[in-house]
């Protein structure tokens, strides 16, 4: 191995009763890359996020962060190590103001820092508004800002473009790239919008029925017959 990976998954499996949600998934996330995770519904993408962020313990296999085993650790401790996530179904603190949402994640009183982050996601005008009162697209961006407020090294985005219109999707792509460059972040992103992922990601991993069926550059993945069979379909863009 030339450079040590930021995050390594080694043969991670997770079973829920009779359902094998993850089946021996191995994956290395390199420092500074944007790695996309695609696959059909129920392929285990969110379960993989939950295993990485400590919400679900793996049934077997190991997760290593900078070489140290972290599987089964508490989510709040993992967050402080530098892993932050958003949720597929928004989980903002809906009654709290946008500012307070960010300051909870910061863990300190830092109004100025929170306002800077809000400006980064174009929400500076809504600082005192309750998070639950924002428009849907704004809530998506606020959740990304909240994850940033924890000061992460790895940002895990779970379907950040879901429900966004094409203009917002394009803006999201630019935002994620900006964040990677400005904060030296590594990004792991789940998204169904394939053209967006092809443009945005350095590498793509494809899950199907809990197995990783492909891994490589967007170009490689797009031509992979297994991926075409399971997910993209013939004649996909």
């Amino acid at each position: 191995m030339t450079t040590a990976a930021l995050l390594e998954l080694d043969q991670v499996s997770r079973r829920f009763g009779g359902l094998q949600a993850l089946d021996g998934v191995s994956l290395e996330v390199q420092q500074g890359e944007i790695l996309g995770l695609i696959g059909p519904n129920g392929a285990g993408k969110t379960t993989l996020f939950n295993v990485i962020t400590g919400l679900t313990a793996p049934s077997s296999g190991s997760v290593r962060w900078r070489g140290k085993a972290i599987e089964g650790q508490r989510p709040d401790l993992l967050c402080r190590l530098g892993l932050a996530r958003t949720f597929q179904n928004l989980r903002l603190f809906r009654q709290l103001s946008c500012l307070d949402n960010l300051q909870v994640a910061m863990g300190r009183n830092d109004r100025r820092g929170a306002l800077e982050l809000l400006a980064l996601v174009q929400l500076q005008g809504r600082a005192e508004a309750a998070a639950g009162s924002l428009a849907y697209g704004d809530q998506r961006r606020l959740e990304i800002a909240r994850a940033l407020a924890t000061g992460p090294q790895l940002l895990l985005l779970d379907e950040p473009a879901a429900g966004l219109n094409p203009v917002e999707k394009q803006a999201l792509r630019e935002l994620v790239q900006l964040l990677r460059d400005q904060f030296q972040l590594t990004v792991l992103i789940i998204e169904h919008h394939v053209p967006l992922m092809m443009q945005l990601c350095d590498r793509l991993a494809v899950l199907n029925f809990g197995r990783r069926i492909a891994l490589g550059s967007p170009e490689q993945v797009r031509r992979d017959p297994l991926v075409i069979e399971a997910y993209l379909g013939k004649g996909a863009p």
Partner: protein
């Protein structure tokens, strides 16, 4: 109509309401308040009647002895809250409420059946540190002001904000680096301290203390204070406690019907004014 002794009871009501509010701010429906209130009152009643050294030489019971009782009561209630809070706060929602009701019942039965605590008769002739209700009014006013200031300060701090975040979404709070177990335990601890302090003064004020102070009724009453007043900011429970304590005295002719009034408040409050009398943002003028 509003005589001094009613004012004292109103301040006591506001303090108990704040004790219910603190865990509720962190989304934890704990009904343990009367339990810790009874711990405080029992410590005060026992020490002031059984320890001659504390009685002093003057006609009035010395205030320094009350402070000593307060200190011991806070230590005892705090230790109890930390020991019990660990396992109990693993429960969520209504199950936590049931477990804390059980805690109050255990304390009540313990007080009722132990002759050391005065049994069913209770402890009588608790000495008076003040020569009239005005003194208690001042003492309760000071305590309430202190607790209100503390709550106001807490709400501006990361800890208070983390409490509100847990109430909105505990799982998300955990994923954002909040040690939710610790925050919930601290909220439970603060609640116990406020209730115990209120109990110490109450034992002197009522002049007698018995097991009936820790009852399921009292749990529901103090919950009604918060439901009516609102639980988003400390002003809500204070207002609810003041109003609902005064109400039955102003409606004295209806007597025991006041429990029905409390029931109606709990029933109708969430329907008619879901956020209580003081919703979030009412005292935050910066909100657009």
């Amino acid at each position: 109509m509003l005589d001094v002794s009613l004012l004292v009871q109103m301040l006591l009501g506001a303090l108990l309401a704040l004790a219910v509010y603190l865990p509720l701010r962190a989304g934890q429906l704990s009904l343990a308040t009367p339990g810790f209130y009874a711990v405080g009152g029992t410590v005060a009643a026992l020490l002031s009647t059984r320890a001659p050294a504390l009685a002093g030489d003057g006609e009035l019971y010395p205030l320094s002895s009350v402070l000593l009782e307060l200190l011991l009561a806070l230590l005892l209630a705090g230790a109890l809250a930390l020991v019990i809070g660990g396992p109990v706060l693993r429960l969520q929602g209504i199950y936590l409420a049931i477990a804390t009701i059980a805690l109050v019942e255990i304390l009540r039965v313990l007080l009722l059946n132990s002759s050391w605590f005065g049994g069913a008769v209770g402890i009588f002739a608790i000495p008076q540190p003040f020569d009239g209700p005005e003194g208690y009014l001042g003492a309760y006013g000071l305590l309430l002001a202190l607790v209100c200031w503390g709550c106001h300060w807490l709400e501006q701090q990361p800890l208070g904000r983390a409490m509100a975040a847990i109430r909105d979404d505990e799982l998300a709070a955990r994923c954002m680096g909040v040690d939710t177990d610790r925050v919930k335990l601290l909220a439970f601890l603060f609640s116990a301290l406020v209730a115990a302090a209120a109990g110490v003064l109450a034992a002197h004020y009522f002049n007698s203390w018995n097991a009936r102070q820790a009852s399921f009724d009292a749990s529901i009453t103090s919950l009604a204070f918060v439901v009516l007043g609102g639980s988003r900011t400390w002003l809500g429970p204070v207002l609810g406690g003041l109003l609902l304590t005064a109400l039955p005295e102003l409606l004295r002719p209806v007597g025991d019907l006041r429990l029905i009034v409390f029931g109606l408040v709990i029933l109708l409050g969430p329907v008619l004014i879901p956020q209580g009398l003081i919703p979030r943002g009412l005292i935050n003028p910066k909100r657009p």
